[in-house]
Amino acid sequence: MINFILMVNKQGQTRLAQYFQFLSVKERMTLEGELIRKCLSRSETQCSFLEHRGYKIIYRRYASLYFIIGMDLEEENEMAYLEFIHNLVETLDKYFENVCELDIMFNIEKAHYILEEMVMNGQIVETNKTQILAPIHVLDKAKDE
């Protein structure tokens, strides 16, 4: 089960945070700061999997943004979640057309909505980009009208 999904930039500023188990603000800030420091200290030759504070962490860097997933320590397929991160980025890219950090900052509710279509209750529910973006296209159409 996924416990949290984060998008953090190299300066340690969180651009998107979705937690599937409740943590206080202080705990979140501490966790995010520690995670980004750990991810920044790792080189390209090192694997994208590590353990931190009882979570299994899978991360991947896209330009200036780190996509971080925290899971339970019990058996999980890390490779599948690494591919999920790539799927998420491709979905965001498809919607925003050459997505960048600023797109996520200025359209934070849409980024959250896309993520919610993909992950519910810590489980991946949808991976098809068309299916994921269908509701948000309906919303955009309704807004334009």
Partner: protein
């Protein structure tokens, strides 16, 4: 609520404005900016205009991401969930997880809002279901269970998918809701064709297995059905995962999966699906050689892959092979992978070898890790090697001699931490306790290790440099060496009786040359004790006094070098030497006291005048009867004394005989032990060192357990 005027609306800050201002604001003004923004948001949330409230919600989102506490907005957000405007409603539902937790009082208000939303359009219903999945607690889930169950039969796959996903949370929170409801869901899933809905169904089964694993027969058939016909990689990964759990509950299920696993393994190119299959096969399909071999081939590819992620996953998979025989197949690939791996992966590999090294690969493993240790992982490597060596009372060691003379010196050189130095010390003591014959090599070991330390510490010669260096971090780097130094000195001291004269003299000469003695201040008593023992042994071994004077000079030189030792201690040392040296003379003195005193020689009497008035020929006892009485008692006393002396003589003779016999036995034993060891190590020599693993079993471990382990190995 208030209505913003047109003028106010012009100056209303949007999310974009807040973001830009936040990025340009300095750190010192951040608090002021945040406080001002929160005050604005509080006002705007009370506005009647939905666009204003929407902008406030977006700004709230942004502040939450920045690390600000927005739980004060719980009531406002719950209020917005019931808004007529979908955009506003959606924003509030997305923000719900930031302000609402299981203990929130506001959840009570949400029930009716959700029930109303379930009857709306499919987009609104799906977003409501997503929100419910995030914030549901026990009360809310019990209230809404029937509504969610109804939604699982909705015509839209989007709604069905989300309803099933919410059900997995509801069943996890309150497992009492499962009976009766699960069967209904399974019936619907059996007719389901949409992959997303099926994937959510499989996730539901995974959640149920955590809280109520005994219900597995209900969905066993549906899992098997899907695994035989599905082609979507995401769904197949979930199916293989749940099959893994089902096999441990129902072993007969394993047989049915062989065909499908073989097909999937051969057809798929997806690395994540391959990993899932390999993981399952390595755990459960060891008896099926063909499938196991195919999985093993793919695992070897993972271990050799350029991608560090795949190498890491390969190692992760290997931890689930529970036998060392299984691990041996992949040993070559694992060791190759070690050279390219990062620190985290190296730790994984070390853990593997800690668990699965045996006598067959012991030497290979030790030599490899000693060769390829680097600065970052050196500490962990040494720790692991010491663990492997000492595991189960040296069960992996078949050649203790080689271990002591070849591997242990190299390990000692690589130690750079106090923890490892302590472990090394314990290793040495235990090894020499269990193989007493190895003590004859203690001088060689001491020389080998300390010579390296002396070479590496050339810059620490002389007392002045020590005083300066004492206050730097170098003192810390010496401490682990001092622990090893002390342990070596102690071992040599214990082994002194087994060493030949030549070896003893070499030790003294070596210590005399060693420049690092001054650095080890806390070891002075150990050095003192060692010198004492060696000197006594040399005295016993050198009756002709050929080398003793030379040794005494060397010992004196050593004490001169040890600047901190007091003169009192040196003088005591020499007093002890003198006492031990004249032991034979003491025996002669004892015999002297036992004999009757002979009369004073007449010649001597010439020199010594008797006192004036004393007649030495005259009896000083006047009463003759008294003289007779004393004479008689004296004669009885003398007879008794003679009898006692005879008895003591007999006992002494017996004791001497026994001592002689035991001495002869020890001599013979030592000679037999030392005979083959006088030569250099012969690789083809028969093993004469047997590790004693029978004594002092740790509490809680039986000899039977050890025997069982040996049989399994």
């Amino acid at each position: 609520m208030f209505h913003l005027s047109q003028m106010d609306q012009i100056f209303l800050k949007s999310l974009a404005d807040v973001v830009r201002t936040s990025r340009t604001t300095s750190q010192y003004d951040k608090l002021t900016f945040t406080t001002q923004t929160i005050a604005d948001i509080k006002n705007e949330l009370q506005s009647r205009q939905e666009s204003v409230r929407y902008q406030a919600l977006l700004k709230l989102f942004f502040l939450a991401m920045e690390g600000n506490n927005i739980r004060w907005a719980e009531f406002q957000i719950i209020n917005l969930m019931g808004s007529g405007d979908f955009q506003l409603k959606l924003g509030a539902q997305l923000a719900a997880h930031l302000v609402i937790d299981n203990q929130s009082q506001g959840l009570i208000m949400v029930t009716n809002v959700f029930i109303k939303e379930f009857k709306s359009s499919h987009i609104e219903c799906s977003s409501t279901l997503s929100c419910l999945g995030t914030i549901a607690n026990k009360d809310l889930s019990d209230s809404l269970l029937s509504h969610v169950l109804k939604l699982t039969t909705n015509t839209k796959p989007l709604i069905r998918k989300k309803a099933i996903a919410v059900l997995s949370k509801i069943f996890t929170i309150n497992p009492l809701n499962i009976p009766g409801n699960l069967e209904m869901v399974i019936q619907q899933l059996q007719k389901e064709t949409n992959i997303s809905v099926l994937a959510c169904g499989i996730s539901l089964f995974c959640s149920i297995m955590k809280v109520a694993p005994k219900l597995y027969p209900l969905f066993l058939s549906i899992v098997y059905d899907q695994i035989s016909k599905q082609k979507s990689n995401w769904l197949l990964i979930k199916l293989v995962r749940i099959s893994n759990k089902l096999i441990s509950l129902e072993p007969r299920f394993q047989g049915k999966l062989i065909e499908h696993y073989t097909r999937l393994l051969n057809q798929t190119n997806s690395k994540s699906l391959q990993y899932e299959l390999i993981y399952s096969i390595m755990r459960h399909f060891k008896n099926h050689s063909q499938l196991y071999e195919s999985a093993g081939d793919i695992l070897k590819q993972f271990l050799n892959h350029q991608d560090p992620n795949l190498r890491c996953l390969g190692l992760e998979c290997l931890t689930h092979i529970s036998t060392s025989v299984g691990l041996m197949e992949f040993q070559e690939q694992i060791l190759e992978s070690f050279k390219k791996s990062d620190y985290f992966s190296k730790l994984q590999i070390l853990q593997l070898f800690k668990d699965f090294t045996n006598q067959n690969n012991f030497q290979t493993v030790i030599e490899f890790f000693l060769k390829y240790s680097d600065m970052e992982s050196n500490d962990k490597i040494i720790e692991s090697l010491i663990f492997i060596i000492t595991k189960d009372k040296f069960i992996n060691v078949d050649d203790p001699e080689k271990l002591l003379l070849v591997y242990i010196p190299i390990i000692a050189q690589k130690i750079d931490s106090i923890d490892n130095a302590i472990r090394f010390k314990e290793l040495l003591f235990e090894l020499l306790t269990r193989v007493p014959g190895l003590k004859v090599y203690s001088d060689q070991l001491c020389n080998q290790i300390l010579q390296t330390y002396a070479t590496q510490s050339d810059s620490l010669q002389g007392p002045t440099l020590n005083i300066v260096k004492r206050h730097t971090q170098l003192k810390y780097s010496l401490n682990h060496r001092e622990i090893i130094f002390k342990s070596l000195i102690m071992i040599v001291g214990e082994s002194v009786k087994l060493l030949k004269l030549e070896a003893l003299t070499n030790i003294i000469k070596f210590l005399e040359q060693l420049n690092i003695l001054n650095c080890y201040e806390s070891s002075l008593s150990d050095i003192d004790s060692l010198l004492f023992k060696i000197y006594i042994q040399i005295i016993k071994s050198d009756p002709e006094n050929q080398i003793i004077p030379q040794m005494e000079q060397l010992i004196k030189n050593i004490y001169t070098k040890l600047h901190n030792i007091s003169i009192v201690k040196i003088s005591f040392f020499y007093e002890s030497l003198i006492q031990i040296k004249s032991r034979d003379q003491l025996q002669q003195l004892y015999n002297l006291f036992e004999e009757d005193l002979p009369p004073i020689n007449l010649e001597a009497q010439k020199l010594i005048k008797p006192p004036e008035g004393l007649d030495i020929n005259k009896s000083f006892q006047i009463d003759i009867s008294e003289i007779e009485k004393i004479k008689n008692t004296n004669s009885d006393y003398i007879e008794q004394k003679q009898l006692i002396q005879q008895q003591q003589q007999i006992e002494q003779n017996q004791g001497e005989q026994q001592d002689q016999n035991s001495e002869i036995q020890i001599k013979v034993e030592n000679e037999e032990e030392l005979k083959p060891l006088n030569n250099k190590i012969d690789q083809n020599a028969n093993k004469i060192f047997i590790i004693n693993r029978d004594e002092e079993l740790p509490p809680g471990i039986n000899q039977d357990d050890i025997n069982k382990f040996k049989e399994e190995e």
